[in-house]
Amino acid sequence: MAVGEKKWEWEIQAKTSYLGPGFKELWSYRHLLVNQVRRHFILNYQQTVLGPLWVLFQPIITLITYVLVFNKLVGISTGGMPPVLFYFAGIVLWNFFSDSFTGTSTTFRENAEVFSKVYFPRLIMPFSVVTTHFLRFMIQLLFLFLGIAYYTVFQDFSPDLSLWVATFPLAVLTVGAMGMGLGLTFSVLTAKYRDMTNLVGLGIRLFMFVTPVIYPLSTRPDEYRWVVLLNPLTPLFELFRLAVLGEGTVTMLQLTYSMVFAVVILLGSLLIFNKQGDKLIDVV
């Protein structure tokens, strides 16, 4: 038989590719993605007392704590915005980021069992995690809008809505991209080095304090403001609040910085994930 003339549909080699499985293959597994998202929801709420209410319960409890501690006890100014709305906006966006990040950062660790038994594009798993958190975020966002409506009607709060309102999907998507990008990078690290998982948990908690979640950027003293501005999440949080509450400080330059950062980290992490993913099964 003439070897070498034959056409093969696929080949498995030692070398792994940066480009990974390609879009066509990912698309053919789209049902798995949907199924995994469904599964995340079912698993989270099956056999629980509050069930799906947890989607709102968790941020609301956090909100109450923040209002009591940071606003009433510590007295951090929310820059004229009603504290409840201010914190809630920060909390839901922050949760979206931190859940996407921590959720994807353990991709290999959590799925080691199934990854070592069957092949499918590994990217499906982190995508499904981010999609789940995105849907959860959308539900919480709806609740935020209800809150804003309530404050406008009954509490004499008038958000000066401008054209900025149209930009908030941009803020949300960029936050999601950044969470997933960082998460994918760390998923490779947590697979190799166990202690990275702790670092992720610790890091995300500390990172919140340099992000304008519990304070508006405008109230930071000028000499330290650069620290907060260095954080690519800052312009996005400010933009988000500007869009939904009508207050926030953000410039085009800062926004560009965030977006470039998000795109670079997402593309970079996808390359790393594809390149390293197949090798990691031996290590996890």
Binding site: N35, S116, Y193
Partner: protein, 432 residues
């Protein structure tokens, strides 16, 4: 001639042994520096020659330079002892792990079934798990919908389909999981030892299903199993791996026979030169133990028809003592099959010899080991020579069409009469 559907080309897989711990971060950086920046050879794997590889202790070749071809519609059985690289080979072909060297090329869709219930989740219902597992194994929505009823029927868990699988019995769980897998329609199906679970009835059903798949639908199957019976029945070709190397590939009967006789040669015989070397204590020391099968030809495998004779010698280090020997046989799950005592007789110092024969058509197929107990005055255990010999008994069924695991600790060939009572039959017919 059928076209080749998979080509395995000089495939090798190296595993690093030992813990991958804190040291590995530094090593990774060093590795990256030498390979990516300095463009040199891998600093940790200088494995250009076999001798160098053989001397390394922290690395093991799970596969070494394996090449073969599988043709469309073929069912290839992969056999070999534990750790011979069978599973590694399947994992590479399934795209789960990457080879260290070499390549696998192929045509068509591959589905692998390396465990029963991949992607199953305890909290989800049977229905949800069918979908989850189906998607993970590479089916699409349309396919699962179309086969859903068939899957449920095959598994026989209709009543419980909307119950979380954590409340299933383990048998139901396995049946449902296999039912999903059995309805995959890939060009190449890869199956690893999945028949080790489940009850005999279901095993038979699975084997039947898989045979249908390979024979009538022309699908290619790669099948790993420790059951030579299953391999012989399902496959037309077999591949024998030994320590990661390809030992033999060819017609299933020939390869299986060679493999069985190959692994059976060992562990059947031990001898010791002097009482100091022999196993034992201050009372007795063993000189020789062996188990000999009575075979027509030396190359025949030991199967359930073969009588086996145990012979042993030991030095009795005491004078005028009443001794007997217990011949205790265990199967590999550690269950005692029998404990046969010898007559108890008074012996002087010196070598004592013994012999006992297990008749053919008595043991079931499986792996066995022998303990020898030397007993004084039929009551005091002097020495227990544990696991002194071990041997395998292969299956033989002749024309029997049942392929599942044969039940029972033993498989004796008792006289068995079965007939129809003619008078009664006639009476019944009349009354009709």
């Amino acid at each position: 001639m059928a076209e080749a559907i998979i080509e395995v080309d000089h495939l090798s897989k190296l595993y690093r042994l030992g813990t991958i711990g804190t040291g590995s971060f530094r090593q990774d950086i060093q590795y990256w520096w030498t390979t990516a920046v300095l463009k040199k050879e891998d600093p940790f794997f200088h494995l250009d020659t076999e001798e160098q590889a053989a001397t390394r202790r922290d690395a093991i070749w799970a596969l070494r330079d394996v090449s073969f071809e599988v043709k469309r519609g073929e069912a290839l059985g992969i056999i070999g002892s534990n750790g011979s690289g069978k599973s590694t080979l399947l994992k590479i072909i399934s795209r789960i792990v990457r080879p260290t060297r070499g390549a696998v090329r192929g045509n068509g869709k591959v589905s692998s079934l390396l465990e029963v219930g991949t992607g199953f989740h305890q909290e989800l219902t049977g229905r949800e798990n069918i979908y989850t597992s189906g998607y993970i194994l590479g089916m699409n929505k349309e396919e699962i919908r179309r086969k859903f009823d068939e899957i449920v029927e095959f598994s026989g868990v209709e009543k419980f389909i909307d119950t979380p699988v954590k409340r299933y019995s383990s048998g139901m769980y396995v049946r449902l999981a296999f039912a999903v897998a059995a309805h995959l329609e890939p060009d190449i199906l890869i199956v690893d030892e999945v028949l080790a679970v489940g009850d005999a009835e279901f095993q038979k059903k699975c084997l039947g299903k898989m045979r249908d798949v390979s024979q009538s639908e022309g699908r290619t199957i790669l099948f790993v199993s420790h059951s030579m019976q299953a391999v012989s029945n399902l496959c037309d070709k077999a591949l024998w791996l030994e320590k990661g190397k390809l030992q033999e590939i060819g017609d299933v009967g020939g390869v299986v026979n060679k493999y069985i006789t190959g692994i059976q040669k060992f562990r059947l015989r031990h001898s010791w030169e002097s009482p100091e070397e022999g196993p034992g204590n201050e009372y007795v020391r063993f000189k020789h133990v062996e188990i000999t099968p009575h075979l027509k030809h030396e190359d025949d495998p030991v199967d359930i028809r073969t009588p086996l004779t145990l012979r042993f010698q030991f030095w009795n280090l005491m004078d005028d003592v009443e001794l007997s020997v217990g011949f205790v046989l265990f199967n590999y799950t550690g269950e005692c099959i029998f404990d046969v005592p010898s007559p108890s007789i008074v012996y002087k110092k010196g070598v004592v010899e013994g012999e006992c024969t297990i008749p053919g058509h008595f043991l079931n197929d499986g792996s066995y080991y022998i303990n020898l107990h030397v007993v004084r005055d039929t009551s005091v255990m002097l020495y227990a020579f544990e696991e002194c010999l071990s041997f395998d008994v292969e299956d033989y069924r002749g024309n029997i069409k049942w392929f599942g695991k044969w039940w029972g600790a033993v498989r004796p060939n008792f006289p068995f009469r079965l007939e129809q009572n003619r008078e009664k039959t006639i009476l019944q017919e009349k009354s009709l």
